[in-house]
């Protein structure tokens, strides 16, 4: 064949997505910064047994109510003399898994509903969307509380409840994008080649859904942490004596007048975590939108 040398050129390695991720981090400082923040949070959760100066559960009545910056207790101690810094570090081991599990429940439940609904259309779409509407009719936290009340209090059930609250968000998002993609000519082109529906979904719809989903995941991770803290504050999430940020605010609230740091310190931990996730989501959304790309 006349173009044989050119075929050799085509066999060179093909550039693939990992490079694109690195380029994204290099080209967008906000993405890189928020990515580092979230990475630090995960490191803290993983390394908290090593990093904690004290046992988070060790009670010592002698050193209770120590204010922050006390030598040996950087963030002070609570009413039972437990080191706050250690409890905050250990609390990350509760909050971050909550973010993971709740987002996973929402993503898989909602994603599946949205995919089926958008792809099948017709009566299937109608029924599934009315179900989603019913879930959306309740304010998120009220729904989560109702689900936990039905399943019984505890961290695992709280995670599931928060995930269920996220289901309609993902269902609507995925359905909207699938409806849009279904009309695109490249999807029609794939059908015209004789592709099966499964191939169309796996090879074309899901890869093109990734951008909006990545953004939604980081946004709802922030919501999940906040919701878990709220449920624990109400006594429906992590149970005593597990160090949990929401639980800490709950017990600290009683001492707000004389020892406000008992509530402020875990509050700040929640704020920083939620802010990091939201920042990551915001910056990713901007970086991945071709219209905003310079």
């Amino acid at each position: 064949m006349s173009n044989a040398p050119a075929i050799v050129a085509a066999q060179e390695p093909i550039r693939r997505t990992p490079v694109a991720v690195l380029e994204l981090l290099r080209g967008h400082r906000r993405v890189a910064a928020s990515f580092v923040l979230v990475a630090i949070l995960f490191l803290v959760a993983v390394l908290s047994p090593v990093m904690s100066p004290h046992d988070p559960l060790a009670v010592s009545p002698d050193s209770s109510y120590l204010p922050p910056l006390t030598p040996g207790h950087v963030l002070g101690t609570d009413e039972l003399g437990r080191d706050l810094l250690s409890r905050i570090l250990w609390g990350a081991r509760v909050s971050l898994p909550v973010a993971f599990v709740a987002v996973a429940v929402g993503l898989f439940g909602g994603g599946l509903i949205g995919l089926v609904s958008g792809y099948a259309g017709g009566i299937t779409d109608l029924l599934l969307m009315r179900l989603v509407d019913a879930l959306l009719a309740f304010p998120g936290l009220i729904l989560a509380i109702a689900v936990v009340a039905a399943l019984g209090p505890g961290l695992r059930n709280a995670m599931i409840a928060i995930g269920i609250v996220a289901v309609p968000v993902y269902a609507r998002l995925v359905r909207a994008v699938v409806l849009q993609l279904k009309q695109m000519e490249f999807v029609v082109a794939t059908r015209s080649l004789g592709a099966t529906p499964l191939r169309l979904i796996l090879r074309h719809l899901i890869p093109n859904l990734l951008n909006p989903i990545i953004v939604q995941v980081s946004l709802s991770a922030g919501f999940a942490i906040l919701a878990e803290a709220t449920l624990s504050f109400l006594g429906l999430g992590a149970q005593l004596p597990t160090p949990d940020w929401g639980q800490m605010i709950n017990s600290g609230a009683s001492f707000l007048n004389n020892d406000p740091w008992l509530a402020i310190v875990p509050g700040a931990a929640i704020s920083i975590t939620v802010y990091s996730f939201n920042l990551l989501g915001d910056s990713l959304r901007d970086a991945l939108d071709p219209r905003l790309r310079s």
Binding site: S192, L193, N208
Partner: protein, 345 residues
């Protein structure tokens, strides 16, 4: 797999089809889209995008299909390939009615037909490399047994459409509109089809690129004995590439003829008005050109007029035109047919 192909081939011969017959025979094809409204999505009307079309597409020819935007020409093209499910009628491809095929048999038959789209930016998956886009057709129909065979076929396809084989690893956004259109053409060729629907393949391209793509399509037709249904909204483009031309108006074919005859002697007043809108590249002739300016708007496919659909805008309309719809062979000069009681002379 081989036996399945053999079965499919036998299926064609069993239906008595020979290459002398039209490759595609469209009979009474209707594609209506229901209009729904209200809480329970009650059907309140039908958009008659394609409303009773009879058309033959002969082996090896290019049939031009023209008409205004919204007249149903794209829907007709997609209905023929069953990318849109028609409401009624027959589409016989090599003698076999596509609309009666099960989904499995239909997917297998798709190997013999392809489509090229208008918008080269929407027709390629932004997340796939060119190699994946072209290789997908090969994977679906198991046309490349090894990775090496697949690579070679992809390179061959790129070569056919005049692109460098180095492009295989790149993503669609790295290409210009003309290059993307070539990739779209390469994808259509990947399955080795005999029939390709070209759905306004050059309308979205720069004028300088249009000629290149037209020439490429013509070369490929010659090389692979392809049959084209070439859809366009512009008669001057179709003139160059078509052997025969069909003119559509609000879901119906109103005139069909050999390309030359249509330009020399249009019979349907609608065709006459379309032709009169083509500018002549000579200032003196252009000044004397007589234009037929149509009054009113295109009739709605939701509620087309009684009788002839064009009568509401026609300068030759008579009371009879409102009563019964003229069939396509009202004017019948053998190869030249028009649906008009009062044709242009």
């Amino acid at each position: 797999m081989a036996t399945k192909v053999a079965e499919a081939r036998e299926g064609h011969s069993a239906s008595g089809w020979t290459p002398a017959q039209p490759l595609v025979e469209v009979r009474g094809l209707r594609t209506w889209f229901p209009v729904r409204s209200g809480v329970i999505s009650r059907v309140v009307g039908q958009v008659r995008a394609v409303d009773g079309v009879d058309l033959d597409i002969r082996q090896g020819e290019t049939l031009g299909l023209v008409g205004e935007s919204g007249c149903g020409k794209s829907t007709l093209g997609r209905s023929i390939l069953r990318l849109v499910q028609p409401t009624a009628g027959e589409v016989r491809f090599k003698g076999q009615d596509l609309l009666r095929l099960g989904s499995r048999a239909m997917r297998r038959t798709r190997r013999e037909m392809a489509i090229i789209f208008q918008d080269p930016f929407a027709s390629l998956d932004p997340r796939q490399t060119v190699a994946d886009i072209l290789g997908e057709a090969l994977d679906i129909h198991h046309l490349a047994r090894t990775g090496r065979a697949r690579k070679e076929r992809v390179s061959e396809l790129l070569g056919l459409v005049g692109l460098s084989t180095d492009f295989a690893g790149r993503y669609p956004h790295e290409f210009s509109g003309g290059q993307r259109q070539r990739i779209g053409i390469a994808r259509a060729l990947a399955v080795d089809p005999s029939f390709i629907v070209c759905d306004e393949p050059i309308s979205a391209l720069d004028v300088s690129i249009q000629a290149q793509i037209i020439n490429l399509l013509e070369q490929l037709q010659e090389k692979f004995h392809l049959t084209y249904l070439f859809i366009a909204h512009d008669l001057s483009v179709v003139k160059h590439i078509s052997d025969r031309i069909a003119v559509m108006y609000v879901g119906k074919v109103v005139e069909v003829s050999a390309a030359k005859d249509l330009y020399r002697q249009p019979k349907h007043p609608y065709t006459g008005s379309l032709l009169s809108a083509i500018p002549i590249p000579d200032p003196r002739l252009e000044r004397r050109r007589e234009r037929i300016i149509l009054k009113g708007d295109v009739a709605s496919p939701l509620n087309p007029p009684s009788g002839c659909r064009f009568r509401t805008r026609c300068f030759k309309a008579q009371p009879r035109c409102a009563e019964t719809e003229p069939p396509l062979d009202t004017v019948n000069l053998g190869d030249h047919k028009a649906a008009c009681y009062y044709p242009l002379s």
